[in-house]
């Protein structure tokens, strides 16, 4: 099953949002469901990152890479980062994969790799 993460484009002014919100942050004019879903581009540049060691109990790993990426269309997204030697500004590509397991629930999100 292919999965996608979407940005939300205001039908009134065209402003792109990620994540979803119910009223446009730019024009303040629209209402629920007045957004078009636009698939997020998968490539972008790493804006900042961390390697975290003190993790919530759902994560049975010693550490976790996390980053904020500026995608090709200018939208920013927070995701997991699987890069050995991350550098601010480096090119990365994202894949939608399982990012968290909560009991039997699998949660999908964006994981970034070196482009």
């Amino acid at each position: 099953m292919s999965r996608e993460i979407y940005a939300y484009k205001c039908r009134k002014c065209g402003h792109l949002h990620y994540p979803y919100r119910m009223v446009c942050r730019n024009c303040g004019e629209n209402e629920h469901n007045e957004f078009d879903q636009v698939p997020l581009p998968k490539r972008g540049k790493l804006l900042t990152w961390t390697r975290a060691y003190s993790l919530p109990a759902d994560f049975e790993v010693p550490s976790l890479g996390l980053g904020i990426v500026e995608l090709e269309n200018g939208i920013r997204i927070t995701g997991q980062l699987r890069v050995d030697d991350p550098k601010i500004g480096m090119d990365v590509r994202g894949e939608v994969e399982i990012v968290r397991r909560e009991g039997y629930d699998e949660r999908y999100g964006m994981i970034f790799y070196e482009a």
Binding site: Y53, Q80, I88
Partner: protein, 393 residues
């Protein structure tokens, strides 16, 4: 609006407390009533973030008002994440200023050590955006870490500056009997010595263990009153002269300039505006240093030091923010040294400022302090409340 005064203050030790949450809220309230010499309370606000989740107790305000035998006074919980404390004080100010009530008690309390550190971190992580942040394993330390990396890149802040905040605040806490951390630390021990990486490992790179506040239990209380009541109470007159609050996007990545904390800037400006004062009038401040970077950045965003050049870390280098410096920040030890029982923190900040403005702060007293300021930071800067206090007589 009527002027509003702080007539009584109280606080518990911030540490691991073995008594129930409702008593952690009630004990400082009893101290505050004793401090004020006043027991007629019209209304109670309890600042708390996690009683339902962490302590399996809801309706905390009803429990606290009864524990104090203050029934039938009205009571409710104010929850605004780690800014619950200052939000509750702001709500108390509104109640007295409007004339609805004459005397309002605001007590903040949290009992986080009931769960282990990982569960406490997870509890705080529920503040983050559920779909865009939380599912990835994002925690507050990791958001702060990503912010820190950008700030270092842009303004030349280094791990040494972060360590200087940790040393300053944790050593200030040695002079505060209520503070959680009572251990002297040095730059040598946490950064320079061969053992530093063992003493002070990364929590979320580039933030280390000593860059993060401890998980604490604790409670603090202030009693707010009208001028008429304040003049009857024989305590120094400290007026809550300004409150300001501002919000920002829930997901941190949506902020236009990722090194700005706009909600801090806006909340501070509103608070100073209401008080008719400017940042240069402030003699002592308590800023929300849940992570060391935040003290540096908030000191710029509230207007103490220019942000353009990243002056906050330079002022720190010059010792201006130490007790005895030009503008002491976090003489109590801050969240870093005093501890951070989330719902209580904003009230504890106000407690320290009132203590300082009364001239009762003992060895950590800031000389001749007349104007004090607090910044209570909720979420990762998405809901911030700033308070300005003035000593009048």
């Amino acid at each position: 609006m009527r002027p509003v005064y702080v007539i009584g203050i109280g606080i518990t030790s911030f540490t691991r407390l073995e008594y129930p949450l409702s008593e952690i809220a009630a004990y400082p309230a009893m101290m505050a009533m004793k401090d004020a010499g006043w027991k007629e309370i019209d209304h109670l606000y309890v600042a708390n973030m996690g009683s339902g989740r962490v302590n399996h107790q809801t309706g905390l305000a009803s429990a606290v008002v009864d524990t104090l035998s203050l029934t039938p006074a009205g009571a409710e919980v104010i929850e605004n994440g780690p800014a619950s404390g200052a939000s509750a004080i702001k709500t108390g100010l509104m109640a007295v200023a409007s004339g609805l009530h004459d005397v309002v008690m605001v007590t903040g309390a949290e009992r986080m050590r009931e769960v282990n550190n990982l569960e406490a971190t997870e509890f705080i992580a529920t503040l983050t955006h559920p779909l865009a942040e939380y599912i990835y394993g994002v925690t507050l330390p990791s958001l702060a870490a990503m912010f820190t990396r950008l700030y270092m890149e842009k303004y030349g802040v280094t791990e040494r500056h972060l360590a200087m905040v940790a040393v300053k605040n944790q050593n200030n806490a040695l002079l505060n009997e209520f503070a959680h951390l009572q251990q002297e630390i040095s730059i040598e021990g946490i950064l320079d010595s061969p053992e530093a990486m063992t003493n002070n490992p990364y929590v979320a790179e580039p933030l280390r263990f000593f860059d993060c506040c401890p998980v604490s239990d604790g409670g603090a209380c202030v009693i707010l009153a009208s001028e008429e009541v304040a003049r009857k109470v024989e305590r120094p007159l400290v007026r809550l002269a300004g409150v300001g609050q501002a919000t920002d996007t829930h997901a941190v990545h949506e902020r236009e300039e990722p090194t700005d904390l706009l909600a801090v800037r806006r909340a501070a400006a509103k608070s100073f505006g209401m008080a008719g004062l400017t940042p240069s009038d402030v003699d002592v401040a308590e800023l929300h240093d849940a992570f060391t970077i935040l003290e540096i950045v908030e000191s710029e965003e509230v207007g103490f030091f220019p942000k353009g050049e990243g002056e906050g870390h330079l002022a720190l280098e010059r010792g201006e923010t130490a007790v005895g410096g030009k503008l002491p920040i976090n003489p109590s030890g801050g969240l870093k040294g005093r501890g951070h029982p989330v719902g209580a923190t904003g009230v504890a900040q106000a407690h320290e400022i009132v203590h300082q403005l009364r001239g009762e702060a003992g060895e950590r007293q800031v000389n001749d302090a007349k104007v004090g300021f607090t910044c209570n930071f909720g979420g990762f800067g998405n809901n911030v409340v700033c308070l300005t206090f003035v000593r009048e007589n």
